[in-house]
C-alpha cells in the first residue's frame, strides 16, 4: 500500500458525505446503497464512521460528471479513466468524482459503482495506489462479486496505518474484517516444508505461480520475497485446487484446469465462453482430469500429462497430435512416473513429482538436475 506525500488524513473520525448529483444509469436508491456499502468497507476496519448529509458541511462530496468538470483532471469519455478522488483536506480534499460517460451498474457488467467507489473512498481517506494486484487500491479496475467483498490484507494494513483498527464492534460487517490471509508462521513454514508438493505451476506475465489447494505462492522478478494469496482473491469466480495450468505468453493467456473443465484467463480477467470441457481439446473419453500441462515455446505444442502418459496439443492447428498419448518414461527418460505440475522457464522444463522437481532441457529432453520442489522459494 502507499499513502499520499505527508500522509494526509482526517482529524475527525466521524465523517460526513454528500451525494451532489446522481447518475442516470441507476435508480437513486441503488446509487445511495452502493456508496453506503463502499464506505462500510472502510468503516468495518477502522474507527471511522460515515454519515450522509445534505448540507454544505460535508467532508466528502460525491459527484458524477463528464469531460472537464472544474478541476485539473478532465475525464476522457467511455473507458480508460473511470473516476478519481482527492486526499483528505479542505475544499476539494476528500471529494470523489465519477465519470458520467461510463455506464454505472450494480452487477458484474462494467462498471460496478460499489467497487469503484470503494477504491475512490480509499483515496478520500488518504490511501494512494497499491502495487499489489488483488488489493482494492490497485489502480486497474477488476470485477469482484460485491456480495462477499473482502479487503486484502494490504488494504487493511494501509488504512489501519492511518486510522488504527476499529474501536466500535461493527454489527453486521458487509465485509469481513478478518484479513483475507494472515501470513502465519505456519504458512511461511508451509512454503519451506521440504515435503511440499504442488497441484499446478505456471508462469503469468513474468511471475511464476505455484498453486496448492486454495492458495497460490507468487514469485516475481520485480519484488523480493514470495507472496501468498488466496486463489479466490485473484479470481473470485473460479474454484480452487487446480489440477494443471500453463501460459502461452505471446498471447498473454493462461489456461487453468480442474476436473473435466478448463478456463482461459488474461491477468485477472476470465475469457468469455469458459469454462469449457477438456474433451473439446481432443482427449479420449477415459481422460477424467489432467495432472499437469506445459507449453513449449519452441514447438508451439502444449504437453498434457495424464497418469503415466502425455499428449501433445498443436496450438497452431488447435488440435491434438496423432500418435499420442505416449509414455512419459519413453520420451522424458528418468522421469519415470506421473507429473504433478510443470512449467517452462529460460529454455528448461520443470516437472514436479511429489517433493522433487526435474529440470529438463526442452530440446534434448534430458534431465539436467533434480531438485526439491520448493527450491524457488529461497528457503
Amino acid at each position: 500500500y502507499s499513502t499520499f506525500p505527508m500522509s494526509p488524513k482526517w482529524k475527525t473520525q466521524n465523517l460526513k458525505y454528500r451525494i451532489e448529483n446522481y447518475t442516470p444509469d441507476l435508480a437513486p436508491a441503488d446509487t445511495e446503497a452502493a456508496i453506503e456499502k463502499a464506505f462500510k468497507v472502510w468503516s468495518n476496519v477502522t474507527p471511522l464512521t460515515f454519515t450522509r448529509v445534505n448540507g454544505t458541511d460535508a467532508d466528502i462530496r460525491i459527484s458524477f460528471a463528464s469531460g472537464y468538470h472544474g478541476d485539473f483532471y478532465s475525464f476522457d469519455g467511455p473507458g480508460r479513466t473511470l473516476a478519481h478522488a482527492y486526499p483528505p483536506g479542505y475544499g476539494i480534499g476528500g471529494d470523489a468524482h465519477f465519470d458520467e460517460d461510463e455506464t454505472w451498474t450494480k452487477d458484474s457488467s462494467s462498471y460496478n459503482l460499489f467497487l469503484v467507489a470503494a477504491h475512490e473512498f480509499g483515496h478520500s481517506l488518504g490511501l494512494d495506489h497499491s502495487k499489489i494486484p488483488g488489493s482494492l487500491m490497485y489502480p486497474v479496475y477488476v470485477y469482484r462479486d460485491p456480495r462477499d467483498y473482502r479487503l486484502s490484507q494490504d488494504d487493511i494494513s494501509g488504512i489501519q496505518n492511518l486510522y488504527g483498527p476499529p474501536t466500535h464492534s461493527s454489527t453486521e460487517p458487509s465485509v469481513s474484517t478478518t484479513p483475507i490471509e494472515q501470513t502465519t508462521e505456519t504458512s511461511t513454514t508451509g512454503m519451506c516444508d521440504p515435503h511440499l508438493t504442488f497441484d499446478a505451476v505456471t508462469t503469468l506475465r513474468g511471475e511464476t505461480l505455484f498453486f496448492k489447494d486454495r492458495y497460490v505462492w507468487r514469485k516475481s522478478p520485480h519484488f523480493p520475497g514470495i507472496e501468498r494469496d488466496l486463489v479466490s482473491s485473484l479470481w473470485p469466480t473460479l474454484p480452487s485446487g487446480f489440477d494443471a495450468a500453463y501460459e502461452i505468453d505471446k498471447k498473454d493467456q493462461v489456461f487453468l484446469f480442474k476436473g473435466n473443465q478448463y478456463w482461459a484467463i488474461k491477468g485477472y480477467d476470465i475469457q468469455p465462453g469458459f469454462p469449457k470441457n477438456i474433451h473439446t481439446l481432443g482427449f479420449s473419453k477415459h481422460v477424467k482430469k489432467i495432472d499437469a500441462a506445459v507449453y513449449d515455446h519452441n514447438t508451439k505444442r502444449t504437453y498434457f500429462f495424464v497418469d503415466y502418459q502425455y499428449w501433445s496439443y498443436n496450438e497452431i492447428t488447435q488440435s491434438m497430435e496423432k500418435g499420442y498419448p505416449r509414455k512419459i518414461s519413453v520420451d522424458f527418460r528418468r522421469v519415470g512416473h506421473k507429473v504433478d505440475a510443470a512449467f517452462q522457464e529460460n529454455g528448461y522444463f520443470y516437472f514436479f513429482h511429489g517433493a522433487n522437481q526435474y529440470e529438463i532441457d526442452t530440446k534434448t529432453r534430458k534431465v539436467i538436475r533434480i531438485m526439491k520442489s520448493n527450491v524457488w522459494f529461497n528457503c
Binding site: 480508460r80 478522488a85 462498471y111 483515496h123 494512494d128 495506489h129 489502480p139 479496475y141 513474468g206 516475481s220
Partner: protein
Amino acid sequence: FPIAPETEKENEDLLLAKKYLQKFFNLGKEERPAFKRKSLNPVTDKIREMQAFYGLEVTGDLNFKTVEVMKQPRCGIPDVRQ
C-alpha cells in the same frame, strides 16, 4: 504511400503510452530529474517504471502486454507522486 498498418499501430500505441505516462507516471513533469545517469530517453525510463509497478517484464519496450495494461479501465489518480 500510406504508412504501413503496423507502423500506424505502433504510432498509435506510442501516442497512447505517452499520454498514459504523462497522466500516471509524471512523464515530462519532473522539474529536476532525480540525480541519476542522464536519461537517453525519458519515455523508455517511464515505461520501465510503469512495467515494474505492474509486475510486467521490465524491458523499456512498448510491448503487447504493456500496451494492454495501459488500455485497461482504471482510477484517474497518478500511480507515482512528484
